[in-house]
């Protein structure tokens, strides 16, 4: 029983971790919590769905959706965030203007999706079975699709770990996020590097969307709850740390699975709020954050 709950937790935790990763990547590059991330991810998933509807090939639709996710995020950064950084430096809402803009983008993307595809639930299926693996007569709540989710999430994290540790791009991403002025003096094109950070985040969100959606349904709002859980996971990890986001996601996934199992489905999201509150009061920098990085 406990093992079953753990398995459910790990699978949903992998998705939370991906979403948290997307939020952390944007936060590190631009100091914005991107509430539009849910919209970007769901729009990318719709692109995957459309590709699937035309070609009947899930494996082709996945890379297209991911590429679109990266492109969309880059466009959002160039069109909105750069303009905002130039214009809204002062005035009564200077500090909250980016948050509000991403909120507006979320609404905009939702309505655009509704205009194009309608607000009804659609199915975006994968060729993998959603039924749990069977061992003899025993069925565990872990299907081939869940396996795909966990493997993809692990793969994405491995790729990011490699990029950030071993490549020049990773180094400039880190430099641009921690000391933008000095990075600029050292010849890094900070704006361009930031856009790359956004694109990585967009791609990560799209991955989360295309692997989780076959286990349920697709609608303009279907990933909104994921945004909140992803945010909670990111804050547990300190909002700065990529490893923190992953650990936060998995811990939250397992925690939610136990709450779901032993308390009931309707308190899950309130539990998310309470966890968020407690983490922020007890450990304002998260469990992986740096003490000095909070103000910025």
């Amino acid at each position: 029983m406990i093992i079953n709950t753990l398995l459910i937790g790990v699978s949903s935790g992998a998705i939370y971790a991906l979403m948290a990763l997307a939020l952390v990547l944007v936060w590190r590059s631009t100091r914005v919590v991107n509430f539009a991330q849910a919209g970007q991810a769901v729009l990318s998933t719709y692109i995957g769905y459309e590709t699937m509807a035309r070609t009947h090939n899930y494996w082709l639709s996945v890379p297209i959706a991911i590429f679109f996710g990266a492109l969309l995020a880059a466009i959002v950064d160039v069109l909105f965030m750069r303009v905002l950084a130039r214009r809204a430096q002062q005035g009564p809402i200077a500090e909250i203007a980016p948050v509000i803009t991403t909120l507006g983008l979320l609404g905009l993307i939702h309505s655009l999706i509704g205009l194009i595809w309608g607000n009804t639930f659609v199915q975006y299926t994968s060729p993998l079975s959603g039924k749990g693996f069977t061992f003899g007569t025993h069925v565990i709540p872990f299907s081939p699709q869940n396996l795909l989710i966990v493997l993809t999430a692990t793969g994405v994290m491995a790729i990011f770990a490699a990029i950030f540790t071993f490549t020049d791009l990773g180094l400039s991403l880190r430099a641009a996020s921690f000391q933008p002025e000095i990075a600029r003096l050292a010849g890094i094109k900070v704006d361009r590097v930031r856009t790359v950070g956004w694109a990585f985040a967009g791609a990560t969100g799209a991955v989360a969307g295309v692997v989780i959606t076959p286990t349920s349904y697709l609608s303009p709002n279907s990933l909104d709850l994921l945004l909140v859980t992803g945010f909670v996971a990111a804050v547990i990890g300190g909002l700065e740390s990529l490893i923190g986001a992953v650990v936060g996601g998995v811990v939250l996934g397992i925690g939610f699975a136990f709450i779901l199992q032993y308390i009931g489905p309707s308190v899950t999201f309130l539990a998310g709020f309470i966890i968020l509150m407690v983490v922020q009061l007890v450990k304002p920098h998260g469990f992986f954050g740096h003490k000095t990085s909070r103000h910025a």
Binding site: P92, G114, N119, F231, V235, V267, F269, F273
Partner: protein
């Protein structure tokens, strides 16, 4: 810039004493109410909506414009006000006036608790936390039987009292009654906030917001100022929530969706978050968005997709455009100046 905006607002309204301001607002309200005899049911409905939105937007303006905190979860605070009022009215048979007061008190206490918990949170952290609240809270209705699940609780306060009908005369429809109820409440609220923001409470909020360190040195308890602002803001929001529930005739989890919280932020941004006079404008815009997009939808051929999504599209576009081009609110002069600067 921050200083000049708040100073201009302060100077603008400081010319009037509280008493004169009250008289002015009373005359304004009376004119509005007399106007209610001349308009049809739809307009009375929209008028009541404007009044309720105005109260709700002012709750965001108090919080964001004058205390520098952000909330994406004020729809949830409205839900608390609405549910508490409806519970008091339907379950415990309070008269509706007291039920509304009870809802406001419950919302105020909740806001105080939330303010204490979140006084240490900044910008995006607070935004995300209140967002999580807005997502999590409505699900409580399904957890406890007394809250009525998806069906919610009914909150039918009936027709206008006899004395009012006699005094006003004419046909007294349901929505006209709600208009008569919500407008005076909005006006009293408006009077209360303008006075509060003029007082040293308001000044300490602005000081704590503009320069926390200097405010602390000047003897202002910054954390307490923030908590108090959150509390006042929540009591306004829960009052608006109660009135909202009265107008709907019931409370359900669906009546307070996440989009309501976003709509309030949109209204406050349109009003200009440091600008009290913009509240009416913000509320008017919010109410006219569905109507405007309805007209636009007919033009575009009224398919179900268009009618369902156009209001959201218009509202979000408006939000983005205002934040980027007119961060001080949607005043025609400010917009024009921003466009000229942008294309210079």
């Amino acid at each position: 810039m921050v200083f000049s905006v708040t100073k201009r607002v302060a100077m603008h309204s400081a010319r009037l004493t509280p008493l004169k301001r009250a008289l002015l607002l009373a005359v304004f309200g009376l004119l509005l109410l007399l106007l209610s005899n001349q308009v049809d049911e739809l307009r009375s409905y929209q008028g009541a909506q404007v009044a309720i939105y105005a109260i709700a937007i002012s709750s965001i303006i108090v919080l964001t414009g004058f205390s520098g905190q952000i909330s994406l979860g004020h729809g949830a605070v409205m839900a608390i006000g609405g549910y508490a009022s409806a519970l008091a009215f339907t379950l415990w048979n309070f008269p509706w006036e007291f039920a509304l007061m009870f809802g406001t008190i419950v919302g105020t206490i909740f806001g105080c608790a939330l303010g204490i918990a979140s006084a240490r949170l900044q910008g995006p952290y607070l935004a995300g936390t209140t967002l999580a609240l807005a997502v999590g809270l409505p699900s409580l209705a399904n957890q406890f039987k007394v809250l009525g699940g998806e069906q919610g609780i009914s909150f039918d306060i009936g027709d206008a009292p006899a004395w009012l009908r006699q005094m006003v005369g004419g046909e007294f429809t349901q929505y006209k009654w709600f208009f008569w109820l919500a407008t005076p409440v909005a006006i009293v609220t408006f009077w209360f906030i303008t006075n509060l923001l003029q007082s040293n409470v308001g000044r300490s909020w602005r000081a704590a917001r503009n320069h926390p360190v200097a405010a602390g040195l000047a003897g202002i308890n910054v954390a307490r100022a923030k908590i108090l602002a959150f509390t006042v803001s929540s009591s306004l929001a829960s009052l608006a929530g109660g009135l909202f529930a009265v107008m709907l005739g019931l409370v359900t989890p669906m009546a307070f969706p996440l989009s309501l919280s976003f709509l309030l932020v949109t209204g406050a941004v349109i009003a200009g978050v440091g600008n009290l006079a913009g509240i009416i404008l913000g509320a008017l815009v919010l109410v006219s968005i569905p109507e405007l997009s309805g007209t636009l939808a007919t033009y575009l051929g009224n398919s179900q997709k268009v009618t369902a999504n156009l209001p959201g599209l218009v509202a979000s576009l408006l939000l983005i455009v205002v934040v980027i081009f007119a961060p001080n609110g949607l005043r025609p002069t400010a917009l024009w100046k921003a466009f000229r600067q942008f294309y210079k």
